[in-house]
Every structure is written in C-alpha cells, then in structure tokens.
Symmetry: C2
Amino acid sequence: MAPVKVGLLGLGTVGSGTATVLKRNAEEIARRAGRGIIVDFVATSKSELPAGVGLSNSRITNDPYDVVNDPEIEIVVELFGGTEPAKSLVLQAIANGKHVVTANKALIAEHGNEIFARAQEKGVIVAFEAGIAGGIPIIKALREGLSANKINWLAGIINGTGNFILTEMRDKGRDFQDVLKEAQALGYAEADPTFDVEGIDAAHKLCILSSIAFGIPLQFDKTYTEGISDISSDDVDYAAELGYSIKHLGIAKQTDKGIEQRVHPTLIPKKRLIANVDGVMNAVLVHGDAVGPTLHYGAGAGSEPTASAVVADIIDIARALTSDPENRVPHLAFQADSLSDLPIVSMDQVETAFYLRLSALDEAGVIAEITRILGDGNISIEAFIQKEPKDDGKADIILLTKVVNEGAMNDAIKKIEALNVVSGKVSRIRVESLS
Amino acid sequence: MAPVKVGLLGLGTVGSGTATVLKRNAEEIARRAGRGIIVDFVATSKSELPAGVGLSNSRITNDPYDVVNDPEIEIVVELFGGTEPAKSLVLQAIANGKHVVTANKALIAEHGNEIFARAQEKGVIVAFEAGIAGGIPIIKALREGLSANKINWLAGIINGTGNFILTEMRDKGRDFQDVLKEAQALGYAEADPTFDVEGIDAAHKLCILSSIAFGIPLQFDKTYTEGISDISSDDVDYAAELGYSIKHLGIAKQTDKGIEQRVHPTLIPKKRLIANVDGVMNAVLVHGDAVGPTLHYGAGAGSEPTASAVVADIIDIARALTSDPENRVPHLAFQADSLSDLPIVSMDQVETAFYLRLSALDEAGVIAEITRILGDGNISIEAFIQKEPKDDGKADIILLTKVVNEGAMNDAIKKIEALNVVSGKVSRIRVESLS
C-alpha cells in the first residue's frame, strides 16, 4: 500500500520527537502498520529545522493552513497546543475530510464536544492519546481494553510537575516553594506554574478520562480543581506518620448521585502501588466492575514519550483508513448518540474521609470541644494525634475522619476555626483508600 | 445494527464470567459497541446452567461442533483450554469464516502460527487478550498503544500462583512447600502445580508477548523455562537484605545476538514498582525506545477479570466486522508477511548479573579461592556477605556479581562446587536491574 502522508503542525518538543520517532522506527512502524508513514508537510515558525528529525524530504511552510488545506495530506497532527489557532486549524482539517491527531488536552477538554461532532459528520477520526498521561496508552485501555466493564472509578497522577514537587517534599523534607523553583530550573514547570500546580492541566486530562470512562460529554467547567500550593511539609510528614502519601490526584467516580469529577491533593495508603509512583512519572488506576483494579504507569510528558502516543494514534488511523466510520471506536468510547446525561456531582455532595491539621492552644478541654463539633456533625474519627506544644504554646492536632459528606465537613471546619483556642485555618486534605 | 451473535464453547469459570459480564453490562456494552452482543449458542457438558449467567434465551448443546458449524454464529469464543479439542474447533470455526476469541494461551503459544495463517487466509480475526495476564489489556498495549516503539525488553509477573507463593515466602518467612499447599487449598494452584510453579504457564504467555513485541513467529519450544521450586526462604531473606525482591519473571529482550526469551526467578531491586506487585496480581513492565518504561498491572486470573478481556475482544471484533481485513491490527502486531527471523538466543549467551548462595567451611582461604575462580572467569563481584557459621561449622556465603555471560558463570559455579571447602550445590538466581 502507498505510504500515509502526514502533515505536522508544530516542531517544538513533541513535534520534533514525533518526526524523530517516525524516522528512527520507520521500518518497525511499516511492518506493524502494513504501510509507511511519511511526514510530507510541516508547518513551523522555525527558520531552521531541529537536527536529527529527518525531514529533508518534507515540504515546509510557516502557514499552517497550507498543511490543513493540502490535498495530499491524509492525517493532520496538531502540536501547537492552546486553543487558537489550534481549534480553527483542527476544524478546518476536519472540514477538509482529514483525520486529526492531537496532543492538545486543553483543546479537547474545552472544545472536544464540538470537534467530535464535526468529525462524526465528516466520518473522520480525531485521536488524542498523547494529550493524557503522555506515553501511557490509557485512552486505548479505557476505550477498548476495558470496554467490557462498567467503570466504577479512576484515580490518576496525571501531572508530572506536581508529582515531582510532592515527591521531593516527602523524600527530602523540602518546602513547596523551594521545590517549585527547582522544577522551574529543571524545565519541568513553566515560568507561570499555575496550570500545573493549581490543577488546571490535570483537570483538562481528568475530564477527558471521565467522559471516556462513563460515556458522558466533556464537562471541563464542572471539574472541581484544587492545587497543591497549600500543602506544607508538615502535612507530608504527618501523612507519612499515619501511613499515607499525599498525591495530587484526578478522580472520576460514578455514584448514585452522578459523576464525581475532581482534582485535589489526596492522602492515599502508602502500600498502594500508585502511592509509589514518584517523580515526574504518571499513573492511572482504573477500577472496573469485572476486572477490578488495573494500573497504567509511564512517562506523562517529554518529547519521545509523548511522540510515542502521537505515532501510535497515527498508526491506528492508518490501520483504520478503509474501515466503515460507523464501526470505528467512538471518540469518547461510547457511541455519539449514546452519551449519558448523568449529572456531575457538586463537591458538597461528595463523600470522602478527611485529614485535618490545626493548631490549638495546649489547654484542657480543647480536644473535647473539637470532638464535640465533629460528633455533632456525625463525623467519626479514625485517628487522632496531638503533637508536643511548640514554643508558642500551641500544638498541632492531626485528625483522620471516616468517610463523611463534604458539606458536613465544611460546616464542622467552620465551627472548629471559630473556637477561641484554635488559631488560624484548619488544613484539610481528602483521603481515599483506593480499594 | 443487529446484535452480534456469539457462540460460547465452555461454561466453566471464564465462560460463566463471560456470560455474566455480557448480561450485567449489556447496556454499557451496546453503548460502546454500537450494537448488542448476544450469547446465542452455548456448548457445555454441564446438565444445569450456572446461576445468574442469564442464558435463558440461548440455545444449549453438548456438541461444540454444533456451535462452530452454526450459520448464525459470527464469533466463536473458545474457553475449553488445552490443545484438543480446542485446536480442531478453532480451525473449524475459522474454516467456516467465523471470528474467534480465546483465553487459551497453550493453544496460541503452541499452535498460534498455524491458526493465524488459517485466519489470515479466511480474513477472520483470532483474538487472545484473555490468555495473557487476565484482565490487563497488555496485548492491546503492545500491539497498538506502544506501536510507535522499538521494544527493547519486557518483563512480566505473568503467573499469579507463583507470585502468591513468593509473596507469602517473603512476607511471612514461610517455605515453598508450605505455601504451595495453601495455594492449592485456596484454589490458586492445581493439584498438579507443575504448570504454574515450573514456569510452563508463564512460558506460554511470554512467548506470545515476545512475538508481539518483536514481530517474530511464536517459538514456545525455544523459551527457556526455570521454576521457583528451588527457591529457599533463605534466598528470599538474603535478597531482601541486599535490597531485592525475588519475582518469577518472564523476560523477553532484543539484543545484538537476537531475542532472549526466558522465564526464571529473578532478583529485582525492591524500589522498582513491579517489585511491589504482590499476591496473585500480575504486571508487565515494557521498555520502548521512545516511551521508556511503562507498567501494566491488574488481576491475572479469575472469572470476571479474564471475562473482561474476553468481552473486550468480542467488542473489538464487533467494531471491526465491516473493516477491510488487510487494514486490521495484525494478529502478532506485525504484518504476517513482515515477521522477522531474528534467532532466539541460547541461554549460555545471555548476560545478566547473578546472586549466588553457597555453604562453605569457615576456614581461612575460602574466600580467596572463590574470588580467584570468579576473577579467572572475569566475573566482578558487586556485593559479598559471609554469614556467621552455623553449628555444623559451615557458613552461608552470598555473592552478587556484575553482569556476566551465563556460560562463564556456569563454568565458575562448577569450579566453586568442586572446591573441598564448599558443600553441596551453589544456588544461583539471575539479577535484573529493570532500568
């Protein structure tokens, strides 16, 4: 068969990786796909091509519309990132009947419903494995490998920067700000780290995973998002003392009330495999009703790991080029006309256990007052630690509660913070057993 | 679209699980596949159907050929296990133009080359995800999710019984025979445990993984197979002391000399995620040139975990029914005419590090003699522990070597065993860093 001609939008980290992998593994890939894959046309603003990417036979342009409008191109690979011009380019490519591969989670999370609808009309594929957890084939696992299951829940470490920071805090007792600076120096975190450490990037990925797991439309704006910038090294230490690691998780869960879609720091038992996923690595734990727990682990970012997913998507499309569009794997795992209108559950209805840390005067009756407030809210205590008082006469109190409704917990926290003997805010981190 | 009609051969553990999952998740599955999936015809020797499997509308027969020859059946699901009559039934189903799903690793490992050739001629699919690592979608990950990569190596815990035994030995200091008896009582191990503990089951699975990873024909008979029955609780303890866990691994590796395909007990660093895969759970660690390491973890056996993979394969076929056979994912990941004739490397050419344990008289000069023999063989020592002598005046000596050719190691071991001061055999276990 004739080689498939690919058009590449962008020659940054992932674009260069994609060209490099397609070149280096050209023979393996042709043996797998049954045909060659050629980067025929590249849009880049760079005046010089990166070394080693092997694009000497490719056409180059600085106008990406040259690529999406080129009649020779069968698959457009969008690696610009961000919303525009990516969205317009992808829609134009679809309108031109081209298949699309993208690593752009923001684009899919925020505009995927529209993009997939257009793709459906035109009978083309939009593939986005590279957008979530880098090289881990988690979209494929959820959409195809675990398709027999009703997914009960999934929990993922899906932002490598955040995981690097929390790992360093735990292993070296360092502060958040200190590690963040190092992560920026190492190139793991952007100059503006908000996207990573405040959970927006993870929320983009989570809402995509949730859609595919539960067959619901993409609903990024309903994803609860809480970052890790308030986690102190004390919290990390106390969690360890209690047998837990703190991980920044994206959690999607089906309950009687609907779908929970939430990104937040989470205490998880140290003995869980996912609690030992450290540094910049990613992992997604999926719990299906038939299969039970499965864990999918790998590099969540980086040039070639992300390219691994981009190229796998290209090969998938090459293999499916002659298939009947109606029989292809649907974009969101479920058929477009079979998506569900299950509501996204608001956070005050979510139920989890909690870790609480507060600073209180070392006086008689303090514990009685706190436990009375919790008791009044029907909040059971799983563990209670009172530390030695510090020089200022205040002592850290650390509590683990049993599973409780988040609204009830918030009410109780307000009452505890109003106590005269308690100073400052109560730190609270959700706890998940992941069993 | 009309529902897909499936014929089920066998209603044992996996067959019942398959019927149960197809019934319980019928709505989810139809939403995913775009059509229903119906178990229309079942071959079973049972006189009564298991409860809850929901086959009240299915035809039942005790002659499996009724199913494979039935014109209504589009997909035959073979769950008898073993070589015959499974092989004849599968070939007959293929001859009749039916797609086949099987959980039968022995059949695929030993007869897959012939079966896939026949399937290729008839343009039908033979799917076998359930045969390897139960519910973990590892075949799909290797064949599609990681298809951009040249696979460097993979290492898997792919027999749950063996992993349960080694985990109990480590965690509770128990002996092999003692745990084996419990595993048999729990139903994890068969009355004849040879298949599991001597590595034959793992070798079946490994040769399939190796074919898919490297694009070579199935070569079960060239797979090196060593069991765990000689592992002592001393070995487990000493390994832990050195920072290692002992796992029974299936390892497939591409080197300059060809493909290594070997199943044996292995010391692996405790800090690796896969070293913490315990009990009956399975995991496969895959190292690709672009993606780096990925780990795929889940239940390796059991009724519904295995059914999860069977049903996923059925859904895959349902989705691909109208696709052009030439554009489907090839059975062994690589196109049938693109398989490679890379040789399987014989064990004496394999290079690994080694753990050695021996018992020697507590006399001056013993260590000098042993280290001289190793030095003469150009075998470097990474760690050396001499234990306190026991009551019989003999002391355990434990060595970790650097990476060495297996042939050279065997020669050195023979010389060490010939020393007067050394009593009995030298225990040797291969060591892999998995980095």
